[in-house]
Amino acid sequence: MNLADLWLALLGFLLAGYFVLGGADYGVQMLAGNGRARLLGGLGPFYFGNEVWLVGALAVLIGAFPRLEGSLLPGFAPLFVPLVAALALGKAGVQLRGRAAGGAGRRFWTVCVVAGGVIPAAAFGMIFGLLLTGLPLRADGGFDLGWAMVAGPFVLACGLALTAVFAAHGLMFARLRVPGRAPARPGPVLAVAAVAVAGAALLGVGTARPTQPGAAVALAAAMVAVLGAAWWAARRGRAGWAFAATGVAAALPVVLLGAATHPYVLLGAGGTGMTVAEGAADEASLAVLSAFGLVVLPLVLAVQAWTWWRFRRPAEGPAYL
């Protein structure tokens, strides 16, 4: 395994970690409309550490895969712009909603909070759908998204599926952290998520052309299965296990994308694409990055793990968020 593969694995780890942690935030934010803003109190100190997994993933993309990043971000600009804008509104809204003095201010920030949950989740799902479909790559590695591609049924289904999975995951998080305030019945949200994932998978069999279709179908089936397991655990009052199961469902899309497009990091239209080596930085740059990053990352993870452990009990009473 060379350094580029190692950093690709790290990129996948950070992104999957972000989907598990940030996905729960998005889910809670989606549920926090309709006078249920007190759910936000359960986000606790974790909230601050979560979004930075995305920043970390982006940093690894820039640092270790500058050429992949140079294609990916401008190409997906029509989706990344609303994603980042909504992310900014939501992130600020969660922290500032409680500071607002009047009803109008609170309503404004609540809209930001909910939009900041739905739009990024849907946009990430659609980006994943497009990456699985294969992109019309130019010789310089760039590509242009047509509206017909973005609005394709499979791509939209992926957006819906990821949104539903995050909503289910956020619901399980809320049931664990603020049991008294969370919606009592998890069944409908989990059912929508499972149906959406299965629907996207069925549409994908017809439209997407991944290099490893078998792996893609198997992992989509695994997502439906863990959502079922979450429902089973939630019915038996095992809130922790239910949250763990939806967490696996939230992480699996990253594994699915990596496995289904192997050995490419960016899938082209004709069954080929950009390989790991083509997307990665020079060995010398990766060595500098490794020297610092691989020492620092475990330290940061240790601090976050300590945070989760220290604040593992349900949040009671008034909370800052």
Binding site: F46, L58, P82, S285, V303
Partner: protein, 479 residues
């Protein structure tokens, strides 16, 4: 407007906003950390409670600022890829590592520690809790270092070799130890401390002029803020000046522009070397330089006068200390006054220094008529360091034009291959969203600055028990 103009407008507005939040963060975080440490170290319960309330007050303002500062940073990071992929494709091998480390080391750690600090009130041991805000401060400054390494690379590229039109890292030491980055870090850190100190002094002066339940707390904050500002303004000026010799060597065009020397000859030489094009930065780079310098002189003079006036009661009681203070402040003031009067601290140095020493002594000997005037001046001065910081940033970055990476990559060649419509949409969206968030955030900061410290939301749950009595009984028994 073409794509290039839009991309530059977008980057200017988002970076400028981000820059203001950064200055506030870097300036206020160490002051909050000092207050928190003093609080947990005080033995007298009343003093301790008062200092904790003041920590919560200033910490609350810091945290509100951080909420939007963080998201402006997030937008910046995406924008680099969305609008400027030509830059990451050319320089990604070199700047990718420091950028990634900025996020991994600093951003990642800073947010985690801040979350713990916000939620740690009443839940963590006091010493550990105060250590967390120091870790937030440390990681914020580490973040500044890594990002200035990238900026220094754009200004005065070092440690690279260009093969096949792509920059490659040849000397990591030259990149990470770039004198441009180190000097800029010291200059920016001290300027941020000046801004944080004057902000704290300004808000405290405002609160002391009105009825407050915390007169003692705000008097202490006034002194802390004024002292930090007066100390920080000196390295800000000194290290700011130290950057000029580097500039003469590496960016002569900037220097010609700032010193009003005709640029025609250098323009012809650069055109012969790099091909046809305009190598003279826009005139408003110089506008930034002048604004920054004059505000710097004014703030230098003002901070030192304010120091003498705010500490007057203490100083007049100890004659030896008062003499030292007058000489130290008076002679430093001489440097700023010379700059203010003559444009540069050179001519008539002896007379200017003498006058400033007399002024410093007079401030201590004759009680100024109106404390209200001092308070009003402190309030009026609070926003000025932020204006100066923006002006300094304009000077540095507009003065870099037309280069994105000096001597290697022009701004127009760093652009992403996106359509005009996409660039327009992203520009309108990002500027709109960030402007709304910034204004809303500043309104909240001002509103919380007018509240009593005991009313801060931060740490308001401190009444909860500090340690869970039943350690082994998991509430998550379900896991």
């Amino acid at each position: 407007m073409d794509i290039l103009d839009l991309a530059r407008l977008q980057f200017t507005v988002t970076t400028g906003l981000h820059w203001l939040f950064v200055i506030f963060s870097l300036g206020l975080a160490p002051l909050v950390a000092v207050l928190h440490t003093l609080a947990v170290r005080s033995r007298d319960p009343e003093t301790r409670a008062r200092r904790l309330r003041m920590t919560r007050f200033w910490g609350q303002l810091y945290v509100i600022n951080y909420a939007v500062g963080l998201v402006t940073g997030l937008v910046m990071e995406f924008q680099l890829g969305l609008s400027w992929s030509g830059f990451t494709k050319f320089a990604g091998n070199v700047i990718g590592a420091p950028l990634a480390l900025e996020a991994l080391v600093a951003f990642f750690a800073e947010s985690t520690f801040l979350g713990l600090w916000i939620f740690g009130w009443g839940r963590l041991r006091p010493g550990l809790h105060a250590a967390l805000i120091w870790l937030v401060t440390l990681t914020a400054y580490a973040s500044a270092y890594w990002i200035l390494v990238v900026n220094a690379f754009m200004q005065m590229p070092a440690g690279l070799e260009v093969r096949d039109g792509v920059a490659r890292l040849a000397d990591a030491g030259a990149l990470l130890g770039s004198p441009n980055a180190i000097l800029a870090l010291i200059h920016v850190s001290s300027a941020a401390l000046l801004a944080g100190g004057l902000f704290m002094a300004g808000v405290s002066a405002y609160r002391l002029r009105r009825a407050t339940t915390e007169p003692a707390g705000f008097r202490f904050s006034l002194r802390l803020g004024t002292a930090v500002a007066a100390v920080a303004v000196i390295p800000t000026a000194v290290v700011g000046n130290l950057q000029f010799p580097l500039m003469i060597d590496k960016q002569p065009m900037k220097v010609l522009l700032f010193t009003h020397v005709p640029t025609g000859e250098l323009q012809a030489r650069l055109a012969a070397r790099y091909g046809p094009g305009d190598y003279v930065p826009p005139y408003w780079a110089e506008l930034g330089e002048e604004t920054m310098l004059y505000l710097g002189y004014v703030l230098g003079l003002f901070s030192l006068c304010a120091l003498l006036l705010v500490f007057r009661d203490l100083l007049v009681r100890h004659r030896a200390v008062a003499v030292v203070a007058v000489l130290a402040a008076g002679n430093s003031m001489g440097e700023f006054a010379g700059g203010l009067v003559f444009g540069a601290p050179g001519p008539h140095r002896l007379e200017v220094y003498l006058a400033c020493n007399v002024l410093a002594a007079a401030l201590l000997l004759y009680r100024p008529r109106s404390e209200r005037a001092l308070a009003a001046a402190l309030v009026a001065a609070a926003p000025l360091p932020f204006v100066a910081a923006l002006a300094g940033w304009v000077m540095r970055e507009v003065g870099r034009q037309p280069w994105l990476v000096y001597g290697h990559l022009k701004v127009e060649d760093g652009l992403s291959p996106v359509t005009w419509g996409t660039m327009l949409a992203s520009t309108v969206t990002f500027i709109g969203v960030l402007a709304v968030l910034a204004v809303a955030d500043w309104i909240l900061i001002l509103r919380f600055a007018r509240r009593e410290p005991a009313e801060a939301h931060l740490g308001a749950v401190a009444a909860e028990p500090r340690h869970e009595p039943e350690r082994d009984k998991l509430t998550l028994e379900t896991l």
